[in-house]
Symmetry: C2
Subunit: 185 residues, 2 copies
Amino acid sequence: MNEALQSIIPPEKLEELVSISRKIFLKPKEYFIREGEVPKKFAFVFSGLFRYVYINNKGLEFTKGIIAEHQFISSYSAMISSKPSHFFIEALEDSEILQIPYDKWSVFLKDDIFWVKLLLKSVESGFIIKEKRERDLLLLNAETRYLNFLKDYPDMQHRISQSIIASYLGIQPESLSRIRKKISS
Amino acid sequence: MNEALQSIIPPEKLEELVSISRKIFLKPKEYFIREGEVPKKFAFVFSGLFRYVYINNKGLEFTKGIIAEHQFISSYSAMISSKPSHFFIEALEDSEILQIPYDKWSVFLKDDIFWVKLLLKSVESGFIIKEKRERDLLLLNAETRYLNFLKDYPDMQHRISQSIIASYLGIQPESLSRIRKKISS
C-alpha cells in the first residue's frame, strides 16, 4: 500500500478502507467525475495529476483546482448533497488512484471518531486552499498570481499546458504569454 | 438559551458549550475579528448581521461573505492555523452573539464524536457556500449574480447598503445602479 496513505492512516484502519476500495488507472483527458453526474465516489491519488474544471455555456474552461499525487479528489459538495456535480474531474497524466465508494465510506463515519476526524482535516485543508485562492483572485493582479503559482507548484509548469495554467489564473492565454515574456526579460 | 442553537445541539451538550462561552453585544461597524489578528475565538450569531471583508492595499473593500442570525462566524482558516486573519469580521447591525474561545472549544474535539461531527457539518456547509460563490463569480455575469443574490437573501437589500452589495458581487457601485435600473424598467 501507498506510503502517503500509511503516513496518515494506521494499518488496521487502512485495511478497512482498502477493503471497500479499488485501484483504478486513468489516462490523460479521462474523467473521474463528469459535470451533471451525481458523484458516488471519491479517490486518493497515488500518482498522476488531476484538475477540477468548470466549462461555461460558451465552452470556455475555468480550472478551479489542480490536484497532484497524495491528495484526495472529489466533487465534495455535490457528493454529500446527492446533487449533480458542477465541474469535471479530469486526469491530466497517467494516474493511479484508490477509488472509494461514498455509500460504504459513509458507514465508517457513523460512530468512528478516527474517520470523522480524518475527514474533518481533509475538508479543513480544502477550505484553507479555497480561501487562499479566493483571496488571490480578489486581491492580487495576474502577474502576482502567476508568480505565486510558480512558488506554490514549483514543478507544475512542466506538467501542464500554458492554456490550463491561464485558465487556473483566470486570464486569457495571450495575457499569460505577455506576463511570461515580461518576467523572463 | 437560543432556540436555533437548541435545534442543533442537545441540552447537555449545549450546557457544556455555554459553560465556556459568553454573550457579547456588538454595534454596527464594530469588528469581531480584525485583519492581522490571530483569531482566538469564534461565535454563534443570536441576532444581527455580519460581513467578512477584505480591504486591499488601495483601500478597496471586497465583501467575501454575509452572515445573518443563527449561523457561526469565524475566521476559520486563520484560527485553526494560528495565523493572522486576512479579513475583518464586521457587525452591520446591533448584534448579539455567543462568543466561544477556541482553546477551550478545542478540548471538546479531542474525544467527543458529537462535537467533531457538528464541526464537520459546519465546515462542510461553509465549503458548499464557498464553492457556489466561486462558481457564480467565475461563470455568471453581474446581472445574474445580482438576481441570485436577491433570491438567496430575500430581505437583505433592505438591511445592507448598496455599496456593500456591490462589493459582495465584485462590481462597482455604479454598475450595480445600472443593473438595478435595467431590472426595474
